[in-house]
Amino acid sequence: MDLKAITKTARDTIKKYNRDHSQIIAILQDIQGVYNYLPKEALSVISEEMDVPLSRVYEIATFYNSFSLKPRGKHMIEICAGTACHVQGAANILDRFERELGIKRGETTQDGLFTLEEVRCLGCCSLAAVVRLDGNIYPFVKQDDIPRILKKYKKQEVK
């Protein structure tokens, strides 16, 4: 990862929010929007430029579930583990994704293609069980659909 670019992104974002301390969450969100995760270097830049202890930046970055300190894969798979989806078998669906990808929730495949995350309700509970892949909602997912869904994305890669 290009250190200079990260520093620049972080600096620009901080400027965009006028170095406003109450906007640290928004700043982190924007940076994560660029890199898909929060590079360590960006956190240091925030700490220095905004004059907040690094520990506080880390506190925020680790408190909120949507931030990741680890790089994420190219495709983001989010399994809804909300109540409606749980009742419709979400646990089995998560299991099957783990099995098919050979990773556990929160991990990224070795080839950097997929990151598997569990989320608590995507607000599409009437379509349970729901999976979100790169922002697209898959409704009424059954375990047996999963190999097919993954195949589509893997095929794209080969192309």
Binding site: I25, T83, V87, N92, C121, G123, C125, S126, A128, D144
Partner: protein, 636 residues
């Protein structure tokens, strides 16, 4: 159009809105809320656009929010001047061309409309909107919307505009009487009168706790301080609930208008809407709405020449359930890690940056303009005695008609689940309904006649919560549900206090053990007593109500716990360690589908002969049961 400063300006804006709300030409609306989009509504919209252009048709195409009946998505409505609104369900991309054919020829022989709307009441303007007076004979067979069981008992107050207006068009909101209440409040009411009206209405907070809104506003108005804030809680953290998403996406101005009225009553000039990170479309629509309101002078300085100024900022959450709690939410708006604070300092006196702050839920705010338009008394007459008005519920889980429903409070669970929801699918029996999210509980089938209001649900060991209703049938294990909620709470406890951080974890471990066949005698009693101490010893309501999912399931489903602990059996067939899948010889046709689909290849058998499962290899995922067309797989 320039700024709206007078009633006349507002009338002009309404007129402009009517031009697109009820255009003089054919109009086609597509429901493009998140649930519609998931079903493919955007592609349908694009296809409609292409088709209209291709055929050079002069049709007004528009997007709208959700009508709530999610099983019909993607939903497309056709409105022709002087004729009833016709709603077509499940309109996929390939049905667009035939649909347009029908619109052009005026027939309804191909695609059948799911319902029609002949007229509706405009709640705020208090007039009947008639779409079609004379109903053609061919339409007589199409049910009217309020004849459908799903809608018959509904009363849409908060959701009044969802699915009817284009949420990205402020003029359409105004055409439905929007911002007239604000005009009324600013031009002819004192802050005290507004608060009185809200108090008389009996409105209680829709975010879960049910605190009287008028009383909260009054305390915040009385609190000392020049700078005050009003906040909208759009964090909607309860899993299984999406009412607020639907409102924020489908009618953002109703929330904004409510907030401006509230801010005037309280004496606040700045507001925040805190929206959940998982709701990108809600953020986008709110952002657009705020900008439009600003452009027209409905936010900003000197609104309606009253001298009153107010503006709103949208804040995105970052995925922490505890941030729905009032003090945590305010800490998060300050840009910190959202840990709750002790409650003895009231946020109405010391909230954001220690200034008086008034927090209300999305749905609470959306009710305000109606209360101002119709009066508190009118509102108080709807619903139940101490729970006035309506409540929006997300009716999901094992239920036939899933979706969002808004019903007068006091309606029974039975009416919601059977009359509106159409009962349980696949002939299974109703077991329980979960309300109140992780702070709530499971209400058993015996209590099906329970009226749904704040107090009755509380007495039954659950709570209203934000409005999620997750219906469960006999294939849902109540111990597993309790374990599920504790798994949720373990990861969402902020960790500030020991009883919640450690206690919830310990209770989770016990539940986990019970589900894995390692339950011991005395576990149930231990859970009960731990639950009590956690509730007593926690700082915020997350910990305070955390034991509810366990206590309520023990209260109503003790036998199921005992079966897990004593007999090492999961009667619902869910807990993997306690169940076994097998194939019924008399039902198995030997089609081999299960063997092909089993992820661990543990099913064998010759074609057209009975198959068997290798119990040693079986991981109990249930895929075989999912794919078997002959119901030959059983779980016990």
């Amino acid at each position: 159009m320039g700024r709206i400063r007078t009633l006349k300006d507002l009338d002009l804006a309404a007129k402009k809105g009517l031009e697109t709300l009820f255009p003089k030409k054919t109009k086609i609306m597509v429901g493009t809320a998140t649930s519609g989009i998931a079903a493919g509504a955007l592609e349908v919209y694009e296809e409609l656009k292409r088709e209209c252009e291709k055929r050079k048709l002069d049709i007004h195409l528009s997007k709208t929010g959700s009508m709530g009946m999610d099983s019909l998505e993607p939903l497309v409505e056709v409105i022709e001047p002087g004729k009833p609104r016709l709603a077509y369900g499940k309109v996929t991309k390939d049905k667009v061309s035939p649909l347009i054919d029908q619109v052009v020829s005026g027939s309804i022989d191909g695609l059948k409309p799911a319902y029609r709307i002949d007229d509706e009441d405009d709640l705020i303007r208090q007039e009947k909107i008639t779409y079609g007076k004379k109903i053609e004979a061919k339409l007589k067979g199409i049910p009217k919307i309020n004849e459908l069981p799903f809608y018959k008992k509904q009363l849409r107050i908060a959701l009044r505009n969802c699915g009817t207006i284009d949420p990205e068009n402020i003029y359409e909101y105004i055409a439905r009487g929007g911002y007239y209440s604000l005009y009324r409040a600013l031009s002819s009411m004192t802050p005290e009168q507004i608060i009185d009206e809200v108090t008389i209405s009996g409105l209680r907070g829709r975010g879960g706790g049910g605190f009287p809104t008028g009383r909260k506003w009054l305390s915040c108005r009385k609190a000392h301080g020049d700078i005050k804030y009003v906040i909208c809680n759009g964090d909607e953290g309860d899993p299984g609930a999406y009412m607020d998403r639907s409102l924020m996406e489908g009618d953002p101005h109703s929330i904004i208008e409510g907030m401006v009225i509230g801010a005037f009553a309280i004496g606040a000039h700045e507001g925040f809407i805190y929206v959940r990170n998982e709701y990108p479309l809600a953020v986008a629509n709110l952002q657009k709405a705020v900008e439009q309101a600003r452009e027209l002078g409905l936010l900003g300085d000197d609104i309606f020449k009253s001298g009153f100024s107010f503006d709103i900022k949208i804040v995105r959450g970052a995925g922490a359930f505890v941030c729905g709690e009032s003090t945590a939410l305010m800490t998060s708006i300050e840009g910190k890690a959202g840990e709750p604070r002790a409650k003895y300092i009231h946020t109405v006196e010391q909230g954001i940056w220690n200034r008086p702050s008034n927090l209300n839920n999305v749905e609470t705010w959306a009710n305000v303009p109606v209360i101002i338009a119709r009066g508190g008394k009118w509102f108080a007459n709807i619903g139940a005695k101490n729970s006035t008005g309506t409540k929006v519920f997300s009716l999901v889980g094992k239920i036939n008609n899933v979706g969002l429903v808004e019903v007068p409070m006091g309606i029974t669970l039975k009416e919601i689940i059977y009359d509106i929801g159409g009962g349980i699918p696949e002939g299974k029996s109703f077991k329980a309904v979960q309300t109140g999210g992780p702070s709530g509980g499971c209400i058993p089938a015996d209590l099906i006649d329970l009226p749904v209001d704040f107090d009755s649900l509380w007495e039954a060991g659950s709570m209203m919560g934000s409005g999620g209703m997750i219906v469960m049938d006999d294939r849902t294990c109540m111990v597993d549900i309790a374990r599920y909620f504790f798994d949720f709470l373990v990861s969402e406890s902020c960790g500030k206090c020991v009883p919640c951080r450690e206690g919830v974890y310990q209770m989770y471990e016990i539940l986990h053990d019970i589900c894995h066949g390692r339950g011991k005698k005395g576990d149930i009693e231990l859970l009960e007593s731990m639950g009590k101490s956690i509730a007593d010893g926690s700082l915020c309501a997350l910990g305070g109500s955390a034991p509810n999912p366990v206590l309520s399931t023990i209260r109503y489903f003790r036998k199921e716990y005992e079966a897990h602990i004593n007999k090492k059996k999961c009667p619902a067939g869910v807990c993997r360690a306690l169940i076994k899948y097998s194939i019924l010889a008399d039902k198995c046709t030997g089609c081999g589908v299960c063997a092909k689909r089993c992820p661990v290849e543990c099913i064998s058998g010759e074609r057209k002969k009975v198959h068997i499962i290798d119990q040693g290899k079986c991981i109990k995922c249930g895929t075989c049961k999912e794919v078997c067309k002959f119901d030959a797989i059983i779980v016990e």
